[in-house]
Symmetry: C2
Subunit: 217 residues, 2 copies
DNA sequence: CGGATATTTGACGAATCTCAATAGGCGTGG
DNA sequence: CCACGCCTATTGAGATTCGTCAAATATCCG
């Protein structure tokens, strides 16, 4: 587990004692915005989406979590967003009270959480730039690039990425409609930037070109 | 200073020792994206805007800071955004290394920073929802409402808010153009939702209506 | 194979942007 | 104190990107 990288064996033991393993299937609600934030989670497999809703049903996905990602760093009294699994997802669940008690005992963990929150904040700012100022094409290229970088960081081939989420989810993440996402995929394909493979995978033909397209350069 | 609310007199002394006071005028760069993050700041007066740029000059303002707000919670090696004063702004500057050294001595401060980061993260998610899914009118209402709430929290009349930033800044914060911001102000005025007063102030006629408009209800 | 769901494609419309002109504010200096 | 000039805000007209609605196609899974 990524948050535990700074802990030694005995310390990890303490966490294992208080965790519950759980599996969620697609559309399975994990947490609901506004509910008391009684648990924090660590994703151990699959993908999870975080989102907020407007009263009329419009949805903004604020992030996708993958193996190793932590859900609930921002610990206010209530959850500020909802979460559900993209496909099937596996997670460790911690009672928040017990989790915080352990935090007190391992101050280096607190420092680490602050670091993770910093990263999330930086990511959130990138996403604001994307949502507020990028075109549909730039948005999709940015998205594919971030998936590619994530793949690379986990030791996979960055030029062939798995895109497990639906067009609709991608749209709700990028501030676009399903149709625009689909059309933009088609355009990128036509322009030779990417190739669509079976199994929801995408081949990136020229990462540098993708990078330029992502920034409107 | 807001971050120091958890400290006692002697502890605050330690911070005062390492701070430098500085004043910035409009468009004065405070920090630049990509530069080494050698300093952290606390705003003591005026307003500051945080923003990111695309290569062609498109700009996204990711947040406004006011008195008491802290700049640099997200402490990576380099700044992930730029900052400049809106009008004139006053700030305390801390050497980051020394600041972090003090953090080690006051663990409750670290907990507090994590709390502040959590709040910022929640705010960032709200802003993503706004940027990705709200209409121009909803965006502006949300913005005015947040200024009103901020005013209220500081003990001012929430129905008359000061809007010190330019239409252009508001546009870059809401993902709109100057013209659309201006037009939307005009519409809200025409519909009796707000009234424009001199001195860049805005009178909110019906806060509840504004709330509804902000969420598309 | 068949039904359900997701994706793609097309035609059209609307919100917002762009470009351009006008009006308003504010400070400076005569 | 007024006039000028600069900068920002407002308003207008037309263009464009993206959204909406609808239909066709593809994919998944039992």
């Amino acid at each position: 587990m990524s948050i535990c990288g700074v802990l030694d064996k005995d310390e990890i033991e303490e966490f294992v004692k208080i965790l519950t393993r759980q599996t969620c299937t697609a559309h399975d609600p994990i947490i609901d915005e506004g509910e008391p934030a009684d648990f924090v989670f660590n994703v151990t497999g699959g993908a999870v989406k975080l989102f907020k809703l407007l009263p009329d049903g419009r949805r903004q996905i604020t992030g996708f979590l993958f193996e190793g990602d932590f859900l609930g760093i921002a610990m206010n009294d209530t959850y500020s967003y909802s979460a559900e699994a993209v496909g099937d997802a596996h997670m460790c669940r911690f009672n928040r009270r017990k989790f915080e008690a352990l935090l007190d005992r391992f101050p280096k963990l607190e420092r680490r959480l602050l670091g993770m929150a910093s990263n999330e904040l930086a990511q959130a700012q990138d996403q604001m730039l994307l949502l507020g100022r990028k075109t549909a094409r730039e948005k999709l290229c940015t998205f594919l690039l971030s998936l590619s970088r994530r793949s690379e960081k986990r030791g996979y081939d960055p030029s062939v990425i798995s895109v497990p989420m639906s067009r609709n989810d991608i749209g709700d993440y990028l501030g676009l409609t399903t149709e625009t996402v689909s059309r933009t995929f088609t355009n990128l394909k036509k322009d030779g930037v990417i190739r669509l493979l079976e199994g929801n995978r995408v081949k990136i033909n020229d990462a540098e070109q993708l990078q330029d397209l992502a920034e409107g350069a």
